[in-house]
Amino acid sequence: MSQIQHAVPDGPIRYTQICTRSTSCSSPPTSSSAAGTEPPSCPGHRGRTPRRKWQVFPGRNRFYCDGRVMMARQTGVFYLTLVLILLTSGLFFAFDCPYLASNLSPAIPAVGAVLFVFVMGMLFRASFSDPGVLPRATPDEAADLERQIDSTSCSKPPPRSREVLINGQTVKLKYCFTCKIFRPPRASHCSLCDNCVERFDHHCPWVGNCVGRRNYRFFYLFILSLSFLTIFIFSFVITHVVLRSNRTGFLTTLKDSPASILEVVVCFFSVWSIVGLSGFHTYLISSNQTTNEDIKGTWSRKEGKDNYNPYSYGNVLTNCCAALCGPLPPSLIDRRGPIQADTPQTAPQSNGTGGSSYAPTQLHSHMCDQDQCIQSTKFVLQAAATPLLHSDPVVLPPLPAKPASLGGPCAYLGPAQPTLPSCAGDVLTLRDVAVDSHCHHHLHLHHLHHHQHFVSPEETPCGTPQGALPCPAHMHLQHPAPQVRYDPVTQDSLHEDSVRGLVKLSSV
């Protein structure tokens, strides 16, 4: 408690001091890796299993088997896919194969089995592997990029795109506000998974994952082999029914093997979509395009006479080989790696100029980002639905020895952290500016000791910018931030902007 009160006048100085102490404690409050939060344990708890990076992964993914399996958040449709394939194949092997094996050839169930195993293997590989997620920029990198962007323009809004000449074609590289990087060519940010993915094709709900550089071949082989399997099952079930009907009559056949009808129905409806999709992706592979590019018409002739695909190798065979048999890059996110204590802290002086200009630039860029606004609105509305918090003054840090981290995260103008309680964490992104003002409010209100004033259950968070929800987020957010000087004067004006912004959003 007293630490916070003293943190107000001492601000940055105290922060640096505590930083250093914590660094020597080997559990710094700030981590400059994209890993995010650090465990609040002190050296005494070193005996505990070190946490792995997947546990603090900032995207909206789900991890299983201790980080070995990575999927999107919504996996319902994936289970449907699994059930359909398993059911149809199971029924085929149970009801149709005995007859076919004995009357036609035992090779039929054998080939069917191989196809089935291949399909399942490819499905799991496509669903469970990392599609090529780009890890988010470390704060140092982000700050450096911001400085570069600021230095290139003075009056107009800083440019958030770069142009690159690839193979004679001008390609625009966009800046990703969430990941704080300039996206490589062909990369795109998946809004469902909240990650930038290299060579982003599309987000496939059937597979329960994004399809990107690292799992495109598995996805393609999955749909290709599934089309073969579907056609295989369809044709052999028909054969089975026809052969049996010739001997015993159609109705008896249906009585003996009722599953066949279900299989035929499922296969009939699947074959159109799956074979169609395989054909489409075969075209995409041969012209070395992604679904994303094709849908947007990025390389279509209609865009301009000189518009062509700069990534294509020129001939169909090379394009196919490159997509399917090319080298498989390793995962960039190192999900099973242990979270490590950081490298030596950056000296405050050198970051002084960068830090102070950081907040307003971020404010501007964040306010301009429609995506963020939409997300933030959703979360504000979500927050309105969730019950308000503890009557405990949230400014009191339950975390030991980390009061200065309040100063840090306040300046952090980052994306929503899914690991945080959703209302709290995401309201932070909404008020990029208000983040700073919250520090002000926390400390201010702490001084007043008015818990009820701070958090009133009747008021919805939409209406009250003081609605304290980010406070718990502050507790958990031990984010690295460029040291922003706490300045009450600017915070008030910024706060007013945020109020206006919030009121606007709450009327949505």
């Binding site: 990198e141 000449l165 300039f182 090379t318 048999c325 030596p344 000296a347």
Partner: protein, 144 residues
């Protein structure tokens, strides 16, 4: 007292700044870093050395991502074995990444550390940047 001070410096060298070498996408999506010599390093090392390091790194990454007979063979073999072959053997890309890690370590020991610099392996930064940490020069002057 001065000795204690420099000892502390040696234990915890203060980072003065970091330079980030961004990716060069002019050749497409392959992994390649810009070889332009950053101005912050002008006082610490010579241009030639730096460009040589970057060029070697670029060559190594190009080798990792090269499309050719060997990579196709590996891809086909993997496909035929339903990618189970990678349970026992590592991919060509991974082998080259290890080579790169050794090269960077070697460069750090021989060239960069004596000048108070540290090259961070780009794989630790998601192949986005080559991070060069510039340490404050205090410990080199005093304590010797």
């Amino acid at each position: 007292m001065a000795e204690t001070h420099s000892l502390q410096d040696l234990q915890q060298p203060a980072v003065s700044s970091k330079v980030f070498i961004q990716r060069d996408y002019s050749s497409g999506t392959i992994c390649k870093f810009q070889t332009k010599f950053p101005s912050e390093l002008e006082s610490r090392m010579d241009k030639q050395q730096f460009e040589e390091t970057m060029q070697t790194l670029n060559n190594l990454y190009a080798e990792a991502e090269k499309l050719g007979g060997k990579s196709y063979l590996e891809g086909c073999l993997a496909c035929l074995t339903a990618y189970t072959v990678f349970l026992c053997m590592e991919t060509h890309y991974e082998k080259v990444l290890k080579k790169i890690a050794r090269y960077i370590k070697d460069q750090n020991e021989k060239i960069y550390a004596p000048r108070g610099l540290l090259l961070t392996d780009p794989i630790e930064r998601g192949l986005r940047v080559v991070e060069i940490t510039i340490f404050e020069d205090r410990s080199i002057g005093s304590g010797r």
